[in-house]
Point group: C2
Chain length 487, copies 2
């Protein structure tokens, strides 16, 4: 093995057999996207915790003077070796199963999109860190930072050919580019569920059930995790109280989302700079500190939509049976410009991690693309924070390999019969590893390592009689069987 840089060799040391189970760490990185913004800028996209995760070596090049290629993937990206891939597949399977229970249909989009789809002027972090470039045809393209705009694009494209409501989900990789940072993740995978065509909070109630069903499948309880819920209409009502012009709404939302990342003074300063009176700024900040719906009703009055929507949603929560998972928190605004109504985010109750997922209603996104609006809401659920949480709670499942049979010819002359046996077992649906040119001791170790159920030894003395030797590895039971009778 050539000497690349110091990190791979370190990894080799770490990975001396028996393998250190590195899997979990590899998904539990730190990329928070779309609705998954954090309350602490520092912790958002924090450094990856393992060299498996990302390639944070500033000095590394991708081919050195001797023509030696860097073995790491591009900076901030991940490989998925088998153990990490098994974890990812397991997690995605959970996403898919919940989507199936909720009868959402899977869709997908190119990871490469037109930059125009993501150009927004509200100062969102997501649009400031676009992984964008010009293709050889002079088109501005981007490795998508989030999936919602693609979903909206496809809804418009499908047009009248589909009947509303649409319930779609997708699992895809999202990208961002930060110029200045070291060792941070530039990609993550995100599960999105979106409903188009339902104006009522029924849609949000359905999305929240999906999130809760997922947590429950993963073994997470409502004492581990909660979902903070508010509505951008709360802020809208405050803006109305102070007669603040409509066009400032989005900007104000993006600013107040930084509460917790910036100091209160910084937020106030940013709000003032948009032209708001200090009275309005104080009013906004006061309302955002509210944690009870009845208090909110007192302040805004019961006639406002924000209060009615939230009350309805909390009553749905009772009926669905997930009321203990959700709580009202007026400080939740979410960082994306296009939200218009209910917004929510899931958080760990210990407060150690960034938001686990987030979402909300975006009834006016389609018109920003020049189309007629369709009421819509959805959420994004990344692959990073949830794995950190599962790890912390000891909820990661056993990710070891498992196969049915190992077929091992004890003599090279028996490679023919071994081929036939392996082939015929596979045709019967069994997962068969055909091993050759190894010592029996290695084969036994191998069988243990990959959790084989049976070992099928093809030896001369048995084969002369058309038989093979079978060993059941869990019970150490051994017997002879006619090759043709193997099931």
């Amino acid at each position: 093995m050539a000497a690349w840089s110091s990190s791979p060799s370190l990894r080799h040391l770490l990975l001396l057999r028996p393998r250190v189970p590195l899997g979990p760490t590899c998904l539990a990185g730190s990329f928070s996207r779309r609705h998954v913004h954090s309350h602490s800028r520092r912790r958002l996209f924090s450094s990856a915790s393992s060299s498996t995760l990302t390639h944070g070596d500033e000095a590394s090049t991708h081919v050195d003077a001797d023509g030696v290629v860097d073995v790491n993937p591009p900076r901030g990206t991940r490989d998925f070796p088998p153990e990490d891939m098994r974890l990812r597949t397991w997690l995605f399977d959970q996403f898919r199963e919940v989507s199936r229970l909720m009868t959402f249909e899977e869709v997908d989009f190119p990871v490469l999109e037109s930059e125009a789809l993501f150009i927004r002027k509200a100062g969102e972090e997501i649009t400031q860190q676009l992984y964008n470039f010009e293709d050889k045809g002079g088109r501005r393209v981007v490795l998508r930072p989030e999936i919602t705009p693609s979903l909206a694009r496809l809804v418009i494209k499908q047009g009248k050919s589909v009947s509303l409501p649409l319930k779609w989900f997708t699992i895809g990789q999202c990208w961002r580019y930060e110029r200045m940072t070291r060792g941070r993740r530039r990609e993550h995978y995100q599960w999105n569920m979106d409903i188009f065509g339902v104006p009522k909070v029924r849609a949000e109630a359905e999305l929240l059930q999906a999130i809760v069903l997922l947590f429950q499948r993963l073994g997470i309880t409502s004492s581990d995790v909660g979902i903070r819920v508010s509505s951008r209409k709360v802020l809208q009502a405050v803006l109305n109280m102070y007669s603040i012009p409509e066009h400032l709404f989005t900007e104000v939302c993006v600013i107040v989302d930084k509460l917790g990342k910036l100091t209160r003074e910084e937020i106030e300063k940013e709000l003032m700079s948009t032209g708001l009176s200090s009275e309005a700024v104080q009013g906004i900040i006061e309302v955002l500190s509210l944690k009870s719906l009845s208090k909110l009703e007192e302040v805004l009055g019961s006639g406002v939509e924000a209060v009615a929507d939230l009350k309805k949603l909390f009553s749905f929560a009772e009926q669905y049976g997930y009321a203990d998972w959700i709580c009202f928190d007026a400080s939740v605004v979410r960082g994306l410009a296009y939200y218009t109504g209910i917004v929510f985010e899931a958080f760990d109750r210990e407060g150690k991690l960034r938001a686990i997922c987030g979402g909300g209603r975006y009834d006016r996104l389609l018109s920003t693309f020049g189309s007629e609006d369709i009421p819509a809401c959805g959420f994004g659920f990344g692959d990073a924070v949830i794995v950190e949480l599962l790890k912390e709670k000891g909820l990661l499942p056993d990710m070891s390999r498992q196969i049915d049979d190992i077929v091992f010819p004890l003599d090279e002359e028996l490679e023919g019969p071994a081929s036939s046996i392996a082939s015929s077992l596979r045709k019967k649906g069994r997962a068969v590893d055909l091993v050759e040119d190894k010592r029996l001791k290695w084969v036994f170790k191998h069988a243990e390592r990959i959790n084989a159920s049976r070992l099928i030894l093809v030896g001369n003395s048995e084969w002369e009689r058309g038989m093979v030797r079978v060993k059941i590895l869990s019970t150490r039971e051994e017997f002879e069987v006619k090759a043709g009778d193997l099931e």
Copy 2:
């Protein structure tokens, strides 16, 4: 709906309900990559056959003067609306199931890789059409055109932490960029299976079984499809016969792979220009026309490795039981520079389509990255040609949706009970669509469209007694049941 360009409106016309099943066409595009080169340059990456497939409108921009965003994905890329996604998922499931039977482990890599990994000098088409660019940090990166180099990179990175042989598979999107062409696909998905650490043709025999198992699962027979097999060692032997220097080997392979795309005269000219004698050129071309192993043995002698390898592989094919699927054809060379031994490609026997998949042995790839070599072989199997073939043979499965229950409250007041019922059925594992604000007639149509098994009507008169009305949609049987007893 705003007026985008003419094509979306046309699509709307085409898609008036009942939906035209567009699914199949969407995967059956035309992107042939890695080992999947064609014998006809014209047919390689030929124009997409449907507007769903690709966005071939030269004049389109991604945002027009009124700020209207183009609803199409970037040129040459695909969206996967639900019906296309179901087909893709089904196909990938088949790939995964065969990989499981063969006990290959799934791995994955970033779609973005360092350009250095793909820089080769043999004049391959694949390296001439890189979707490459410079990132904001000045790094040369590429949307990968094939996956083998990433696999090799990860094998080197894992180093001594893994025990050989490694059997890995991956399913991923690959990209290419052609400047001059219109409406051709720039991305496709590819299933790769690779074995590292097995020098013998046993590895190739295993790969071929995987391919045959896949065909069999799809309902394809050996009269529909064959697999042409040869070895680059055949060409090596001819080169040795004429004392042609070693360093010309790769270049000669890449040139003769164009047989069928270029005329024989053009090939001869290209070969001559590398410095080969016209005698050697004739010798090469003669050997490449051989279609029988015994003839090959006559020409090259039985001592050469090429003959021994091929004979061994054909004898394995007998033992595995797939001999009727494969045939020797010396003209198969494959277009990738790094192949060193056995090469193969699957083709439709009617000869209408490009290669379905292709692969071979690449024992010396790792040293081109500056590492110690490990014997390896693998194949790439794209998502395009196979779907074309399945469509042609009428083998595409029924791709309609299927859900368990529709819950429909007949009165808005009953949204609460409907929520509880839907929620509790989902917790029991049933896929439940909760429908509101529709007329009963719509609900029945909807139930038919999405193949619901049951319709659960929540009506006032039943609910007063704690009951709901259940309709089994296949039998039209109807009955009342206690809400709590629903299973």
